[in-house]
Assembly symmetry: C2
Homo-oligomer: 302 residues x 2
C-alpha cells in the first residue's frame, strides 16, 4: 500500500467528490477512482459509499481516515526529520519565449531563487507556440504558454495573467496603415483582402486567430507565416503588414511606438498566459515547488 493512495483517500474523504479531488491531486478522475478501488480491495471493505449522486464515508472509511491522516502525517514528518525536505536540490527545465522571460518569468524566478537557491533552472527559449509540445514530449518540465483551447488531461495549466490579443497596425504612415484605418474593421465591408496579414506559423495564437477569422468569414491575404510573436511585431513595426500578437509582447518589444492596435468592437478574446506542465511531472517536488511559487507570485492577479 502506497502513502500516495492514502493521500488520495484523505483528499477524497475531505471533498466527498471525485472530480474536485482529482483536480487538487493533479490526476485524472479515473486514476482517483481506481486508487480508491484498489484501497478498498486491499482492505476488503468499502471506504466510500457512492450512490450515483453523493459520496460519503462508510463506517470503515471513518476509521480508516483517522489512520490515513496519521500515516500521511508521520510519513511527511519522517521525511522532514531526515532532512530530505529541508532543501530542494536538483534542476527544473523551463521553456518559454524571450518575451516571457522578462515579463512573466522574472518575478517568479526571483522568488523561486530566493526560496530554493540550490535548484538550478535550465531555461530554453524559443517560439512560445512550441511550449506545449515540448512539455508533452517531456523535453521540458514546464512551459510558459497561452492556455490551449482544449487541454489534454495529462497537462496541467496554471493561469498567471491575461493579455489582450490584438491585431497590430504599423504606426508609420504607409499603405498598410491607410487601408487598415481607412474603414471600420467591424463592418462586413472592411477591406481585409488588401491588407497583408502576418500570421503565426503554428501554436495557440494561430488557432485562436483561425477560429476568429472563420467565424467572421474573413479570408485574409497572408503575407507571411512567422514563428514567434516577437518576429510578428517586428515585421508589423517595419510596415510589412498587420499582424496578431498579445499586448504583452508589444510592450516588451521596444516597438510599442511603431505599432498600434486595430480598433474593433468585437475584438479577439484575451489570451490567458500561464504555466503548463505534465501532471505526472508535477509530483516531482522540484517542479511542484516552481509551480507553487509561480501561483503565489501571481496570486489573485487572474
Amino acid at each position: 500500500m502506497d502513502t500516495r493512495a492514502l493521500a488520495v483517500f484523505v483528499t477524497v474523504a475531505d471533498c466527498l467528490n471525485f472530480s474536485r479531488s482529482s483536480e487538487q491531486l493533479h490526476m485524472s478522475v479515473s486514476a482517483v477512482s481506481r486508487t480508491i478501488q484498489r484501497l478498498e480491495d486491499e482492505l476488503g471493505q468499502a471506504l466510500l459509499i457512492r450512490d450515483k449522486r453523493s459520496v460519503r464515508l462508510s463506517g470503515a472509511g471513518r476509521d480508516f481516515l483517522a489512520y490515513a491522516r496519521r500515516a500521511v502525517d508521520e510519513w511527511q514528518q519522517v521525511r522532514r526529520q531526515l532532512g530530505s525536505a529541508t532543501e530542494l536540490v536538483g534542476e527544473v527545465s523551463l521553456y518559454c519565449s524571450v518575451t516571457a522571460t522578462y515579463s512573466v518569468l522574472a518575478p517568479i524566478l526571483a522568488a523561486f531563487r530566493a526560496a530554493h537557491p540550490a535548484v538550478e533552472i535550465m531555461m530554453h527559449t524559443g517560439d512560445q507556440a512550441d511550449g506545449i509540445s515540448r512539455v508533452l514530449s517531456a523535453q521540458d518540465d514546464v512551459a510558459v504558454t497561452g492556455r490551449p483551447p482544449r487541454l489534454p488531461q495529462r497537462l496541467e495549466f496554471l493561469p498567471l495573467l491575461e493579455s489582450p490579443l490584438c491585431i497590430w497596425v504599423p504606426t508609420a504612415d504607409c499603405a498598410v496603415r491607410q487601408v487598415a484605418l481607412g474603414g471600420d474593421a467591424d463592418s462586413p465591408g472592411f477591406d481585409w483582402d488588401r491588407l497583408p496579414f502576418i500570421v503565426p506559423e503554428r501554436g495557440i495564437t494561430k488557432d485562436i486567430l483561425d477560429a476568429w477569422l472563420r467565424e467572421r468569414g474573413i479570408r485574409p491575404r497572408v503575407y507571411a507565416q512567422v514563428a514567434g510573436h516577437e518576429a510578428i511585431v517586428a515585421m508589423v513595426g517595419l510596415g510589412l503588414g498587420i499582424g496578431i500578437a498579445p499586448q504583452l509582447v508589444v510592450r516588451a518589444s521596444g516597438m510599442a511606438d511603431s505599432v498600434s492596435p486595430l480598433n474593433m468592437a468585437n475584438s479577439l478574446p484575451p489570451l490567458a498566459i500561464g504555466l503548463c506542465g505534465l501532471r505526472r511531472r508535477l509530483q516531482n517536488p522540484l517542479v511542484k515547488s516552481l509551480w507553487d511559487v509561480a501561483g503565489q507570485t501571481y496570486n489573485g492577479a487572474v
Copy 2:
C-alpha cells in the same frame, strides 16, 4: 512510498544481509537491493552503509527504522481492525501426484481446512514431474514436487520431508530378479545391460537418475519410459523390469510386498519433497497461509 518497501527495509535492517532478507521476503536479491535504493532515493539519505563486506545502519537509517517499524505495525493494525484479516476467503489451486495426496498433503489439508474453512482448495492431480511447469505457467498456485536440482529464483521451495530414492526390483522370482540380485550392484561388472530399466519420462527423478547413471558410466537398457512414479512401481511389481521411485510412493502404493529395493552402497541421494510456488504468488495471503500451514505441519521434520 509503499509499506512493502518499509517491510523490506525492516527485514534488511534486522538481518543486515541482503541475501538472507531476500529469502525471508520471497524476492530476488536484486529486487531487495533496488527497493532499498528507491527508498534511499526518495529520502535523499543513505539508510544502510554497504561496504562490500558488511551492511550496517546509518544514523538516518536508525531513525527511519523506528518510523518504519511503527508504520508497518500501524498498517497491519488498521487492516486487522477493518476486519480484512479476520477470515480469508477465496481459493488456492494445488497440483500434486495421487500419492502425494495421501502421504504429504493429508495432514496439511486437514490443518488448513481447520484454520481457514472459507478457503476452497482446487486440487489437480497428475504426474508429479509436471508440477514445476504447472507452477511456472501459473496454472496452479502451488505444487507438491521433489526439489529441482537448480531452482529458478522466481520459484520458492519449501522442503517438507525426504524419501530415499531407490531402484526397485520385483519380489516375485523371475528372470529380472535373478539378474538383479545375482551380482553386486556397486561393482563395475554388474550386468546392467541385461536388466530392463523402467525410467521416468521426464521430471526431477529422471534428472537425478540420468546424472547418477552418467556419473557411473552406466548405459541402462531402457525397457519403458513411464509418466508417474505410481505406474513405474506397478510395472516393476508385475516383474517387467527394475525401476526408480521414492520409497514414499512404494509405501503408499499397496505394492510394497511386490517390490524390494536394490541394495547399493553408494546409493542415490534422497529426494527432498516439498511445496513449490511462484514467489510472486506467495504474496497472495491465501497462498501464503497454505504455505505457512504446510511449514508448521511439517515443522522440524526435515
